[in-house]
Amino acid sequence: MEDIFEGIEPMVYQSRINIPYNWWAGDTASKFLLAIRDERKILGTKCDSCNRVFVPPRKTCPTCFTDNQEWVNVSDVGILEAFTVARRQLAALPGKVPICFGLIKLEGADTALLHYLGEVDPGDIKIGMRVQARFAEERQGKITDIAYFRPI
């Protein structure tokens, strides 16, 4: 069957979706971020039913479907539960590779916080390492007010 499109160059249309968003952080995230920005304190919320402390904090317990009413301070020190080192310059990365990501369970929390690892050679990172938050000098009420976690 002859291809009626044979020899016709397929046109490619380039575009971009560029939509600014203003997301309301909510009461819970706001309190968490302000504590980091203003006091360099890390807070979690506790579920009355399962007694787990969630960091980052949640208004609703993801497993129990209850309100998390209680706020607790958690340590800025924790254990590295998982990590990776980005080696290829993937498009979403905000800086040059290598970039080290980790899930850190802070003392007092029952969930792990996703963040960067810094001041460490990528080859030296091990699951189970003790790490401590390094706060950014200039903080704006964002998750990057913690600059990274470093081994201690």
Partner: protein
């Protein structure tokens, strides 16, 4: 569960860049193939479920890119955002509701048209996580490392999955990446994010799959012998990666338990003849096999080394080549189901698993295997 069956399947080739095809062209091809396969025409289709993702397609209400080509005019058409196994699940329950006798399910994406890293970065929570710059690869790389740490699974065992699946793809004319690899080829390929090498990762692909599901009565009215749906279940874990033990796929264990129970499978390792699993990365095939109880915890790598999952092994896994050999997201899970259907009909040609009667397809939704959907299909009612 009342009897329902798959009576038609159509798939496009999986390719890196289907530059000549729009989403609608892909759907037109897959849908017509499915109708021809079933010996049906569009009037025989009672309702339609499409599966797509707005971010991947770059348009909201992404269903509408394919609705005309899927025959949706004047019909009840709805879209599931997520993997094709979930779209098919919705299509099935529309039949089980009693309201419809046949459902056409489609699933598509063209990964070539966007930037997967930016798209999958958008799955991360905008307030707590997104700015960090993770994407599906770095997220799954963390899971791979955690799984290897907990179970002792090695880089070589991961590499073997790649060797097996790309090797199987040599016999699948629709696969994008048939390759003759060695373990060293995989280990020497570029490290993308520790511990995942390039050949541990599926490509980003274009493709579409269409499937026709029918209730028992309608299943016998057309051309094909029906392939029966004996068990389906889906289960979701928590969204935040840090809320779970990333090295365990708890929600898959639950979904598999339910689906196997529905299907009357007492001993999954023995009662199943073929599996098509969601191997977006090599480690996932091993992790999902353990979560489903096919291998003991931490032993899937060893079982793989012993040849258990090879195409001529006890329980062939991904004889089609799996996602490692071609990964159009969204369509991915529906293709898994479609490949099991081919096996049970004896139509898999050079990658046919001999005598396959009962098969399992599995799909994933969400980050790092948050949610899983497990299908058990049987040639026999």
């Amino acid at each position: 569960m009342e009897n329902a069956a798959i009576i038609g399947v159509g798939m496009t080739r999986i390719e890196a860049n289907k530059i000549r095809d729009t989403f609608a062209d892909l759907a037109w091809e897959a849908v017509n193939k499915a109708l021809d396969d079933a010996g049906m025409n569009m009037d025989d289709i009672d309702n339609i479920v499409t599966t797509s993702n707005d971010f991947w397609d770059g348009r909201t209400i992404s269903c509408m890119a394919v609705s005309d080509a899927s025959g949706a005019y004047d019909k009840n058409v709805s879209c599931v955002e997520g993997d094709g196994t979930f779209g098919a699940f919705y299509g099935l329950i529309r039949i089980l509701s009693g309201s419809y006798g046949t459902t056409l399910v489609t699933a598509h994406s063209k990964g070539s048209e966007g930037i997967s890293s930016l798209i999958t970065n958008a799955t991360f929570d905008p307030i707590y996580e997104r700015a960090l710059g993770l994407d599906m690869i770095t997220g799954c790389a963390m899971q791979a490392g955690a799984f290897m740490h907990r179970t002792g699974t090695t880089a070589e065992q991961l590499a073997m999955v790649s060797v097996k699946n790309h090797g199987n793809a040599r016999h699948n004319p629709l696969a994008q990446l048939p390759m003759d690899l060695t373990i060293d080829d995989v280990l020497n390929s570029e490290m993308i994010a520790d511990p995942l090498h390039k050949l541990d990762c599926s490509p980003v692909s274009d493709g579409c799959c269409a499937m026709i599901i029918a209730n028992e009565e309608r299943a016998f009215q057309y051309k094909r012998d029906p392939v029966w749906i004996k068990g389906v279940a889906f289960c979701s874990d928590t969204y935040f990666l840090g809320d779970r033990d990333l090295s365990q796929a708890r929600s898959l264990t639950e979904a598999a338990r339910k689906a196997f129970a529905m299907a009357g499978i007492g001993n999954p390792a023995n009662d199943i003849d073929v599996m098509e699993l969601y191997d977006a990365f090599t480690y996932q095939e091993l992790m999902w096999l353990e979560a489903m109880g096919i291998s003991a915890d931490g032993q899937a790598g060893r079982d793989l080394e012993e040849g258990r999952f090879a195409i001529d092994g006890d329980l062939p896994v991904n004889p089609s080549g799996g996602l490692l050999s071609g990964h159009p997201v969204i369509a991915a899970g529906l293709i898994r189901i479609g490949e099991v259907v081919k096996q049970l009909r004896g139509e898999a040609g050079q990658y046919q698993v001999k005598g396959a009667q009962r098969g399992v397809a599995q799909g994933v939704n969400g980050r790092c295997g948050q949610s899983h959907c497990v299908w058990v299909l049987d040639k026999n009612k």
